[in-house]
């Protein structure tokens, strides 16, 4: 029967084989050798020489600074102490500098190639990378709104070799790996993430929705509180995403085709909708909580006339109501659909 070893790892072996510990030990022993040797050879001829002077001389010599305020005058001091201190001091210094550089480069490289682990909290995950401009646009929109401008952003993708410089400059961190892999999602610290945006990776692939469906399932399984938004290519798959627990589903193909037709029928609609949906230009549409007691929609409109906002409707549950009757009583949980220049947290009707 095969016996499995349960012995603990040999820590002494680990310590003795560590490159840094060896170099540190050599540096300490060399420093001690230089200090004591300088005292041994030079103090008989110079009775005022102290241990402090000797330590100073060793440091100045081993770092190749060489002030020259102290120097050996005896044969032993010069050839047995100073020369080894200079030679080995340069070697150790060079090694330490090169090791620091190598570690810095390796750390940056691991980070750029998405092999490191992130420690963000309350961050946004962007899953799948198809084109730079899509992700760049998403990041720019997130950074332009007060709700998400301070959130860290993490990109997860299987194919991207290295994070593009444009995204790195925007502070986006990258995790390389399959988004359906739990280990990859844990490296992106999914447990502490607030939002997940699942993009279609390959719009020409008919299975892209199925892959994204499994991503949503795993994300919601690990972190039930995360707000997930998925991009769907096939409108028939929307129901599947709802069953999977996806909080919001965007069917981009439907949206685009509708917009094309609207633009054809009423040229100029595109600019209006673009302005309303981007955080970077003009005014935006916001959904704002209402605090009111037995107030009507007319009161809400009257409030908006006093402010620089325009109320265009109500969101009740999942139903959006436009052209609401002025006598409509506002209910708890209703949200006002408001157009304005900046986000407001709450509308208080008194």
């Amino acid at each position: 029967m095969r016996k499995i070893s349960t012995s603990k790892p040999n820590y002494w072996f680990v310590i003795f084989e560590n490159k840094f510990i060896k170099i540190l030990c050599l540096y300490i022993s060399m420093f001690w050798y230089g200090t004591s040797g300088f005292m041994y050879f030079e103090s008989p001829g110079n009775p005022t020489l102290s241990w402090g002077d000797s330590i100073w001389w060793t440091m100045v010599t081993m770092t190749t600074v060489g002030y020259g305020d102290y120097f050996p005058e005896t044969f032993g001091g010069r050839y047995l102490i100073a020369m080894p201190s200079m030679t080995i001091g340069i070697g150790i210094l060079g090694f330490i500098i090169s090791e620091i550089s190598v570690n810095l480069i390796a750390s940056y490289s691991r980070r750029a190639r998405g092999l490191s682990k992130i420690k963000f909290d309350d961050h946004v995950l962007i899953i799948n990378y198809e084109r730079l401009d899509i992700v760049q646009n998403l990041v720019a929109e997130l950074k332009s709104d007060t709700l998400t401008c301070n959130k860290d952003i993490c990109l997860i993708d299987s194919y991207l070799e290295e994070i593009p410089h444009a995204l790195d400059r925007l502070g986006v961190r990258y995790i390389k790996g399959n988004p359906t892999d739990i280990e990859v999602l844990e490296r992106a610290n999914i447990n502490d993430a607030s939002h997940a945006i699942v993009l279609s990776n390959n719009t020409s692939d008919i299975h892209t929705d199925d892959i994204n469906l499994s991503i949503v399932l795993i994300i919601k399984h690990i972190n039930k509180n995360i707000f997930s938004i998925a991009e769907v290519m096939d409108a028939q798959k929307i129901e599947h995403f709802e069953i999977a627990g996806c909080d919001s589903i965007i069917c981009s193909s439907d949206f685009t085709s509708n917009l094309i037709i609207q633009e054809l029928q009423d040229p100029g609609i595109k600019e209006i909708l673009y302005s309303l949906t981007t955080n970077r230009v003009g005014q935006q549409v916001y959904l704002v909580d209402i605090k009111s007691e037995s107030k009507t929609y007319k009161d809400l409109v009257m409030w908006s006339l006093e402010k620089t906002y325009t109320v265009i409707g109500l969101l009740r549950g999942k139903d959006s109501m436009m052209n609401v009757s002025s006598k409509e009583i506002l209910q708890s949980g209703d949200k006002a659909i408001v157009i304005g220049i900046e986000r407001i947290p709450l509308i208080e009707l008194t």
Binding site: K22, L26, Y33, S36, G37
Partner: protein, 51 residues
């Protein structure tokens, strides 16, 4: 011989010699200096008596 072993040999070599230097400085050279300090006034008295 591997680099690791060479490094450890160098460490032990320098440490042993450093220990010898330290011991020597702290015992013999220290006592020599003290001896010089205590003997100096006696020598001075002797020379004064001689004159």
């Amino acid at each position: 011989m591997s680099l690791s072993k060479t490094l450890w040999i160098l460490i032990i070599f320098f440490s042993v010699i450093a220990a010898f230097f330290t011991f020597n400085v702290l015992t013999f050279q220290k006592s020599d200096k003290e001896a010089v300090k205590t003997e100096a006034p006696v020598e001075k008295i002797k020379t004064l008596e001689g004159s």
